[in-house]
């Protein structure tokens, strides 16, 4: 099983796509970090001298979620698109092992994206706080929670991408549906219908971050958010397995 996970990671890291997605993800994080650093303390944005401001700043580490999602999608739709799925199943005819390896690989890649985002957040956030004259002692349990939430959300969204890709198989369709969901539908629901939105993956991730909702609606407690994320991961993993194992590869 370990060698199958290694093979899946090899697939991800032997194409240039993963670096492009990582660059985009970090780019989004960088824009968020710079914008928040400049705007903090101004209208409506909590200052970097307050715990809320610091938490919001570091939560930018996870703003490239959608790119982790895309990498997860590509890990399966790329196989169908380029028909490498044939080779994959010839090496490992027991397909549930392939699905399992892909799920683990997605979690690892997502974690990698999350850690990269966190590193960037510290690289930009700490100097920004120093420039604004804020005390670094504000980086405490809140920020640790944000970081854990970022990693969890990144891993989950990569798995979500894998699941949606397994279901749809068409690369473009999966990416369009995924981005539409992450950027439009889910954001709208979380913002406008918080009673529904807090139960969605995005709402659950926000709950783990502990970031205040823009419109004041409540999120689940952090532990419930974490449990919900794990539940979603299990659901997506099941979708990925069921749609992959029985299908004829023609």
């Amino acid at each position: 099983m370990i060698r199958l996970v290694r093979a899946e990671l090899q697939k991800v890291f032997t194409t240039r796509m993963v670096w492009g997605m990582l660059a985009l993800s970090l780019g989004f994080t960088a824009i968020g970090l710079v914008a928040l650093s400049i705007l903090s303390g101004g209208q409506g944005a909590p200052s970097l001298s307050e715990p809320d401001g610091v938490r919001n700043l570091f939560s930018q580490a996870g703003s490239g979620l959608v790119f982790a999602f895309v990498i997860g999608t590509l890990l399966i739709t790329g196989e169908y698109r380029f028909q490498t799925i044939t080779h994959t199943f010839l090496v490992t005819p027991r397909r549930q092992r392939v699905v399992g390896a892909k799920l683990v690989a997605c979690a690892i890649v997502g974690t990698f994206f999350g850690l990269a985002g966190i590193a960037l957040a510290f690289a930009v956030g700490v100097p920004a706080m120093l420039i604004k004259g804020a005390s670094l002692s504000l980086i405490g349990a809140d920020v640790a929670r944000v970081c854990a939430g970022t990693v969890a959300a990144m891993a989950l969204y990569t798995i979500l991408g894998l699941a949606l890709g397994s279901l749809l198989r068409n690369q473009v369709a999966a990416i369009v549906v995924g981005i539409g969901w992450v950027y439009v539908l889910e954001n709208l629901l979380v913002a406008l219908l918080p009673s529904v939105g807090k139960w969605l993956p995005g709402g659950a991730a926000q709950a783990v971050y502990g970031v205040s909702s823009p419109l004041g609606g409540g999120y689940l407690p952090a532990w419930a958010g974490a449990a919900l994320l794990i539940g979603y991961a299990a659901l997506f993993a099941t979708v990925a397995s069921v749609t992959t194992i029985r299908r004829d590869i023609t």
């Binding site: 290694r6 090899q10 380029f82 490498t84 080779h87 994959t88 090496v91 005819p93 023609t250």
Partner: protein, 324 residues
């Protein structure tokens, strides 16, 4: 136990019965051509054999087991399916290394396989820049990576240039003769495999039409002895006296049915007639194939015409008859 065994295999896709009750075996050390027109069910059969397609009924076994039950499948069976099944952004070497990792084979097998198919110099190139022929070679390299004793190839000659096809023929013979592999190779173009295969299985519209050795199949198409020479008409009476039917499609040429070439040669010797040609005509595989699969042949079979092949030189197609 046969290396490859297909037993009463049936598979439908929706209302289309792609493969209908097909059975055949392939023994170690032989090359079997799996022939049929496009859409005959060849690919579905091969994919069932490889566990990629689940048959509705019947069995497709390699070394007596289902592919999915093999512990280390790449070391037992190598397969070449579509030519395009590579990620364009990944290099040839990395493609093979991913397979090595997943199969637990040493990384060095990647370069060894590339070397075996003549791609050693292109190992570090992205597949996007590969020609169709190079992709076919890379596909063959993926099949060889675990040093399997069974090879299953679906239309491997597609996209190869004439030199590549010749190389492939030699390579398949090498695998069967020197390495003792069982090779199953599908094709819709007979000329590609005719000189390579020992046995032939012909399929059309999902049904198996014929199975046998190459010689068995082509001998079905015995179409007489052709004898040519300026004074060949002088043989006629003697041959007819020997019980043969003789026709003369053009001046200086006789077509003799019902007598072996030896009888014709003896007649020429007795009569003192100079011959410029004496061959047993038999249908080549192409014609047998077209007749069996119900495809319209390109020339009428009678009248000494069409595409016939001399026994002595099977590769040379005779066109001097009534093909005009």
């Amino acid at each position: 136990m046969a290396a490859i065994e297909i037993r009463n295999l049936t598979k439908s896709f929706g209302a289309v019965r792609a493969v209908n009750d097909v059975s055949f075996t392939v023994a170690a050390g032989t090359v079997t051509g799996y022939l049929g027109p496009n859409g005959a069910g060849k690919t579905t059969t091969l994919r069932s054999l490889l566990g990629l397609v689940t048959p509705d009924s019947g069995q497709a076994l390699v070394n007596g087991r289902r592919y999915a039950d093999l512990v280390a499948p790449l070391t037992e069976v190598g397969a070449v399916l579509e030519a395009t099944s590579f990620h364009p952004g990944r290099t040839a070497r990395n493609h093979l290394r991913v397979l090595c990792t997943a199969a637990g084979l040493p990384d060095v097998r990647a370069d060894e396989s590339l070397d075996q198919v003549g791609l050693a110099g292109d190992a570090g190139k992205r597949v996007a820049g590969f020609s169709l022929g190079m992709r076919q070679r890379l596909a063959l390299a993926t099949a060889l990576i675990g040093k399997p004793k069974i090879l299953i190839l679906d239309e491997p000659a597609n996209g190869l240039d004439p030199a590549g096809i010749q190389w492939l023929r030699g390579f398949l013979r090498f695998l069967a003769d020197d390495q003792g592999c069982a090779v199953l190779v599908s094709s819709h173009v007979l000329a590609e495999v005719e000189q390579t295969v020992d046995n032939v299985v012909i399929i059309a519209q999902g049904r198996m039409i014929r199975q046998g050795t190459l010689a068995e199949l082509t001998s079905d198409g015995d179409r007489g002895v052709r004898v040519a020479g300026a004074e060949v008409q002088r043989l006629r009476a003697r041959l007819e006296a020997a019980g043969a039917t003789v026709e003369s499609p053009e001046s200086g040429v006789l077509l003799v049915h019902g007598a072996p070439p030896e009888t014709v040669g003896q007649a020429a010797l007795d009569e003192g007639v100079v011959l410029s040609e004496l061959v047993r005509r038999r249908s080549d595989l192409e014609r047998v194939f077209l007749e069996l699969t119900g495809e319209p042949a390109d020339a009428p079979p009678e009248g000494g015409g069409g595409v016939a092949t001399a026994e002595a030189v099977p590769a040379v197609t005779e066109t001097s008859g009534g093909a005009r």
